[in-house]
């Protein structure tokens, strides 16, 4: 295929957090995106969550800005209610046939006002709230939904015709039918997410029979302030607040009997989070979690577990699976039966939450058939270790839970990763399919007297039904500098937008006010309109008279009208002081610097270079490969040596990669778009626009368990080599693996994530080579998450003996009784309740992964934060896992936290995609709302420089503070803090704020 045939558009199937992130990365890199979802709105599973671990962030708070961004992005077309029917074509040029199911509401006309839903006489089960409450037959799932377009549930709609009569926009289309769409795209990304396991078939837990046994996702909705119980936990049986709640883990996971042997990866943390939040919401509530293992393997997850126990007093039992639940028929309380040590125990709870597993989406088989992609035995996409984002079909990629259960940050990293892979397929066609908007020149209003136009919205009857809109219009006309005011049925409709443009011209308006709904969703739209009318988009202000008046003072029309007038008055007071804001722009140096030449660094470099950008790859050692050079195999049987070698060859031969081996960064200067880096010993500086940190990790050198004192005690990496190079007859006949050496302790509370999997792999390899060998694994929690659980089971079946030990009951290793005899290991066995002794030929220590020395220095050079465990700290643990707060710097791999090769590679590809969102532009535009420092007033105390969370303020040569426009996000912390009061925020100046406030105060001065 020639470059000409490549299509500069991408299809993303599945609009959850994964699909949204992929879409944004691609749309920001110059590609058209079709984001397809089979539901009426995007948002996926994350939209149902109340909070997210391990920060307990409010899920909707962090997700809503992304929803809005996707919804309004000019390069993203959202196609909802659509199923994929078939696919033709080849890599870089596919034609996808979609079947768009009828919404029965015209998406163009529906304004999302919701009158239809209020008037609909039919109730249906609200599945967004997991059936715990009712909604109308015409509905949106949640108020922040994108697109905010209502949808008729045909199953429940009785066809009474009321909504058609009520809809002021005339948007109801009862006779809308299925529509077939053909879309021509380059690559395709599949991110349909997961479905939760339905625990009904597990009769022993009584789900569906006992009302007080609920699933974890139902419990999530119960916890949500916007859920059925408004965040107060209540029992479904009687609405009482429970005192004791139990969480049962691994329901539908790690269960061979139901064919789901894999671990769902997220439920341990999810349950801890739910228990914490439940206790926060409900004083007096106590919770208890029944784990098999606590799989807190992610970044700072173990700290979270500690917090749950110490701060919240959450009870924890590590047992085999809870055997069963019996219900007390009178109280509807629940009795759990479980093992602890050798005993069988019973305990009563008021409410039981089943932590249900993540299953492949129900649509997996249809997608597999339509796209020809292979699934594994659990119906997830079968990706490979060294191609973690690729399906078997070239040009089709998979991201998120579709390729295995995983948490949000891993998903978001993959979502960016597939964006890099997809972009590489069609990078020649970048910027070919973008909508080209022609704007009139911006009128210079400087020095003009403000001439304000006020547009007051009826919002159907949403505002007009309560607030006296004509009265507000009349009042607005009396305010200073207002030369025009008018009412509209829907100010956001296409025809009103046109009218605003006409009025600007007719009345020579230079400031626009819309009194309608919330600026959080509608300001971008109106700013566009203002810009299209030839005015600077910042000459605009909103008064939120719907969300703050008509909807919340429905029974006080007079007071609501008075308040609306005052909100308009405040908007006018501010509008009079508005000034046009220019967005500073800076040119971008379209080259990348990648620091670290391990698997992550090489992957990132290749993914950027494959998109046509020059990449400088700097590696401290003389060879590429990093710590992976010491690995020989993976749990899935890959030949790591060969794969890494091949990767290194690709790097060396790549025309766009310039390699610096044995090199180190001496200093880095500059900011996003334009960095200048000097390598030690070099005289020529490197100029680049972005930096990727992939500095890797190192293995801990133990001082425990006779390591260094007896050569039969080795680390995992040492044993890796021994296993690969030693003949079977020379391998140890009794091997003891000891887990968590040098981590999960006071000094290093974190989990190194990969050691459990590596141990199981090595145990299996040893057993494979020497079936007679006795192999013991001494562990604290065996963390073989996701499909690695299969290997754990295989090892157990192969005769590897797993013995758990508690934190303060570490095994004891000694030289043994005779001089050349075996080493002696003593461990307390919990089931037997006694110490047992093992004679070992070899002891293999799962030594922690440590951040490399040098992270500190790099962190200082680039002003990047390190976590308390000294790994690099990303901008946001959940939704910006690869970014730093400082723009233009990204991270991947072990530099972020310990992880497997495939996870490192996915992150590295993701970091590449994030980097390309900058490299693919000629210039970067700053925000309009940014901080500005009055140099005459500044005395150079440096307070603002220290406070700025984005390192967006620098010291000038004459010792003054100066804002770096492109880095500033306009939060205003500096302005409120400046000891000299020399800082202000454009668009939110102190003068504007005070004018707004005082316009409705004593005297109402304006």
């Amino acid at each position: 295929m020639t470059a000409k045939d490549k299509v500069g558009a991408v299809m993303v199937v599945g609009g959850g957090i994964s699909g949204m992130q992929s879409s944004l990365d691609l749309a920001e890199s110059g590609f058209k995106v079709y984001l397809v979802d089979n539901k009426p709105t995007i948002g996926g599973a994350m939209a149902q969550l109340d909070k997210t671990f391990p920060t307990n962030d409010c899920s909707m708070c962090i997700m809503a800005p992304k929803l809005v961004e996707v919804g309004r992005h000019e390069n993203i077309e959202i196609v909802t209610n659509a199923d994929v029917s078939s696919v033709d074509g080849d890599v870089g040029n596919f034609t996808v046939t979609l079947t768009k199911n009828p919404r029965r509401v015209d998406e163009e006309l529906c304004t999302g006002c919701g009158i239809c839903s209020l008037k609909c006489p039919v109730e249906a089960i609200d599945m967004y709230n997991e059936g715990l409450m009712a909604r109308a037959a015409i509905y949106v799932d949640y108020p922040q939904a994108v697109p905010l377009k209502f949808h008729i549930d045909k199953e429940r709609c009785i066809g009474c015709g009321i909504c058609e009569g009520e809809c002021p926009a005339g948007a109801i289309l009862y006779d809308q039918t299925e529509e077939i769409m053909k879309v021509n795209v380059g690559p395709i990304i599949l991110s349909p997410g997961f479905d939760e396991f339905d625990p009904t078939p597990l009769r022993e837990y009584g789900y569906g029979q006992y009302p007080n046994v609920v699933s974890s996702i139902e419990f999530e909705r119960m916890l949500s302030a916007s859920g059925p119980f408004r965040g107060v936990v209540m029992r479904p049986s009687d609405g009482k607040v429970p005192e004791k709640v139990a969480f049962i883990q691994c329901v539908g996971s790690r269960d061979e009997h139901i064919g789901h042997n894999y671990c769902s990866s997220v439920c341990c943390m999810h349950a801890i989070k739910e228990a914490m939040i439940a206790q926060e919401h409900t004083p007096g509530l106590s919770s208890h979690i029944f784990f098999m293992d606590i799989r807190a393997f992610g970044k700072e997850f173990d700290d979270y577990v500690t917090r749950a126990q110490d701060e919240f007093g959450i009870g924890i039992t590590r047992a085999n699976r809870v055997a069963d639940i019996a219900q007390d028929p009178n109280t509807k309380d629940l009795h759990l039966r479980y093992h602890e040590g050798g005993d069988i125990k019973y305990e009563r709870f008021n409410l039981v939450v089943l932590s249900v597993g993540l299953h492949a989406p129900r649509t997996a088989k249809d997608l597999s058939a339509a796209f020809g992609i292979e699934l594994n035995k659990y119906n997830f996409v079968d990706t490979k270790t060294f191609a973690p984002l690729e399906t078997n079909v070239p040009g089709i990629y998979a991201s998120g839970a579709f390729s295995g259960p995983k948490d949000i940050p891993t998903t978001v990293a993959e979502a960016s990763g597939v964006a890099a892979k997809a972009a590489a397929d069609i990078h020649d066609a970048r910027n070919t399919l973008l909508s080209d908007v022609q704007l009139p020149p911006e009128r210079d209003v400087l020095g003009e007297e403000p001439r304000i136009g006020v547009f007051v919205c009826h919002c159907g009857i949403n505002i007009g039904g309560v607030v006296d809109v004509p009265d507000v219009v009349e009042y607005a006309a009396t305010l200073p500098n207002v030369v025009f005011s008018d009412a509209n049925l829907y100010t956001c409709s296409q025809d009103t937008q046109e009218r605003i443009r006409e009025m600007v011209e007719e009345h020579d308006l230079n400031r626009i006010i819309v009194a309608s709904c919330t600026p959080r969703t509608h300001e971008p739209l109106f700013r566009n309109t203002v810009r299209e009318a030839g005015l600077n988009p910042y000459l605009f202000e909103m008064a939120n008279i719907r969300d703050q008046c008509s909807w919340v003072h429905m029974h006080e029309p007079e007071a609501a009208t008075l308040k609306s007038k005052e909100l308009v008055r405040m908007a006018v007071a501010k509008a009079r002081l508005l000034e046009p804001l220019e967005k500073a722009s800076i040119p971008v140096t379209p080259r990348a610097l990648v620091i670290g030449g391990g698997v992550s660094g090489m992957t990132a470099a290749l993914d950027i270079a494959d998109q046509g950008f020059t990449t400088y790859l700097v590696e401290r050692e003389k060879k590429l490969g990093g710590i992976a050079r010491r690995l020989y195999s993976t749990i899935r049987g890959d030949n790591v040596k060969a794969e890494v070698e091949q990767m290194a060859i690709r790097v060396k031969e790549h025309p766009n990669i310039e390699l610096f081996l044995g090199a180190e960064v001496d200093y880095i200067d500059g900011t996003v778009g334009n960095f200048l880096t000097m390598l030690k010993g070099q005289t020529q500086a490197i100029e680049h626009g972005v930096v990727i940190i992939a500095t890797g990790g190192v293995e801990y050198e133990p001082d425990e368990y006779l390591y260094g004192k007896d050569e039969r005690v080795v680390t995992q990496l040492q044993f890796e080599e021994e296993l690969a190079k030693t003949k079977a007859k020379d391998l140890p006949s009794t091997a003891v693996f000891i887990q968590c050496v040098g981590c999960r302790n006071e000094e290093r509370p974190y989990c190194s994530r990969v050691c459990c999997g590596s141990t199981v792999k090595q145990a299996l390899l040893l057993k494979g080579k020497c079936p007679e060998a006795e192999v013991f694994v001494l562990y604290r929690d065996l963390r073989t998450y996701a499909f690695k659980e299969d290997a754990y089971r295989e090892a157990a079946e192969a005769g590897v003996i797993f013995i758990r030990f508690a934190k303060d009951m570490e095994p004891k290793v000694s030289k043994g009784r005779s001089k050349d005899g075996p080493l002696e290991v003593i461990i307390y066995e919990e089931l037997l309740e006694e110490n047992i002794m093992i004679d070992a030929d070899r002891i293999i220590l799962a030594a922690a992964i440590l951040p490399p020395e040098g992270n500190e220095r790099l962190a200082q050079l680039l002003k990047l934060p390190l976590s308390k465990d000294r790994f690099f700290l990303e901008a946001h643990m959940k939704l910006r896992p690869l970014d730093f707060a400082t723009d233009g710097v990204f991270l991947a791999g072990l530099a972020h936290s310990p992880k497997y090769i495939d996870e490192s590679m996915a992150q590295a590809s993701g970091a590449a995609a994030r980097a390309v969102t900058i490299l693919s532009r000629d210039t970067l535009l700053a925000e309009g709302v940014i901080s500005v420092i009055d140099a005459d007033m500044c005395t150079g105390c440096g307070t603002c420089i220290e406070l700025c969370p984005y390192n967006a303020i620098e010291r000038t040569e004459d010792d003054k503070a100066q804002v770096i426009d492109v880095l500033c996000k306009g939060c205003g912390i500096c302005a409120a803090s400046c000891p000299e009061r020399a800082i202000d925020i454009r668009g939110f100046t102190s003068e504007q704020i005070i004018a707004q406030m005082s316009s409705v105060m004593n005297g109402g001065g304006m």
């Binding site: 916007s226 007079e558 609501a560 707060a885 105390c941 969370p949 409120a976 009061r981 406030m997 004593n1002």
Partner: protein, 261 residues
């Protein structure tokens, strides 16, 4: 609404990402609350300057509500930590100036807490109704209270106080230039001490703007012991803010030199 009933006027300064969104959700969910609040949106609660808060009271607000993201949720990472400290300072100075700090409330409200937004506004409205009108409300604000709040406003405009309060978060979390992490109580005491001194000095300056006064006269006017007043007078003279106007027999009289601090 009857004419005689006192309706408190509340200004709500809400951050864009959480509290303003919570107010929106209250709207979407039709949670009803009293009509007394007038909301001003800002990007972050960390944007709010104590000077502006006090200005709001000077203009006659009965109450001020500041809404931000829950700790840990800030869209700008730690803006709400800074807001928390600014409000702490404002509360302290309001107390010092004899203006009920309960009129200023800081609340964390997330984007999913529409009901909480409605509850908080209802509760604050109730509370302020019970407290009655602000002494600064209306056409004839209490001149004495006004004077004191203006002195308080000058304090939060002062370099020293602003520098201290702005640095507090870093000093107690990441540490100072010596790498020492300071105790929160220690630095807070330092700030309170500074605040108290600056407040008294501002009062002295305001008292002596129009007429020269002796230490004793100042002490009785601002209700501060004479020895303390003398200390402040010395410091103010050092800073060239106060001048010795005359010595009546043995009593020196001082006068402000004009301009603020």
């Amino acid at each position: 609404m009857t004419k005689d009933k006192f309706e408190p006027r509340i200004i709500g300064y809400l951050c864009n990402w959480c509290s303003y969104a919570g107010a929106d959700l209250a709207g979407v969910s039709r949670f009803q609350y009293p009509t007394n609040i007038r909301v001003i949106r800002m990007m972050c609660s960390g944007r709010l300057d104590p000077v502006v808060i006090l200005e709001t009271f000077i203009r006659g607000a009965d109450g001020v509500m500041v809404g931000g993201c829950h700790i840990g949720d800030c869209h700008y990472m730690d803006g709400n930590h800074h807001a928390q400290r600014k409000i702490w300072l404002t509360h302290a100075i309001m107390k010092r100036a004899g203006f009920d700090p309960a009129r200023l409330r800081l609340e964390w409200i997330s984007a999913s807490e529409g009901d909480r937004f409605a509850e908080v506004v209802s509760d604050l409205t109730d509370q302020l109704t019970k407290m009655g009108p602000s002494p600064l409300k209306g056409e004839k604000p209490d001149p004495e209270v006004l004077e004191r709040i203006r002195a308080a406003q000058r304090v939060v405009e002062d370099f020293r106080i602003r520098a201290l309060i702005s640095k507090e978060y870093k000093l107690t979390t990441e540490g100072n230039v010596y790498g020492e992490v300071l105790e929160e109580d220690y630095i807070k005491d330092t700030i309170l001490e500074a605040m108290d001194a600056e407040y008294t000095r501002n009062q002295i300056l305001m008292e002596t703007t129009d007429k020269a006064m002796s230490v004793k006269e100042i002490a009785s006017a601002i209700d501060v012991p004479s020895p303390a007043v003398l200390n402040h007078v010395v410091r103010l003279r050092q800073k060239n803010l106060l001048t010795l106007a005359s010595i009546d027999e043995t009593t020196p009289k001082y006068k402000a030199m004009g301009g603020g601090m």
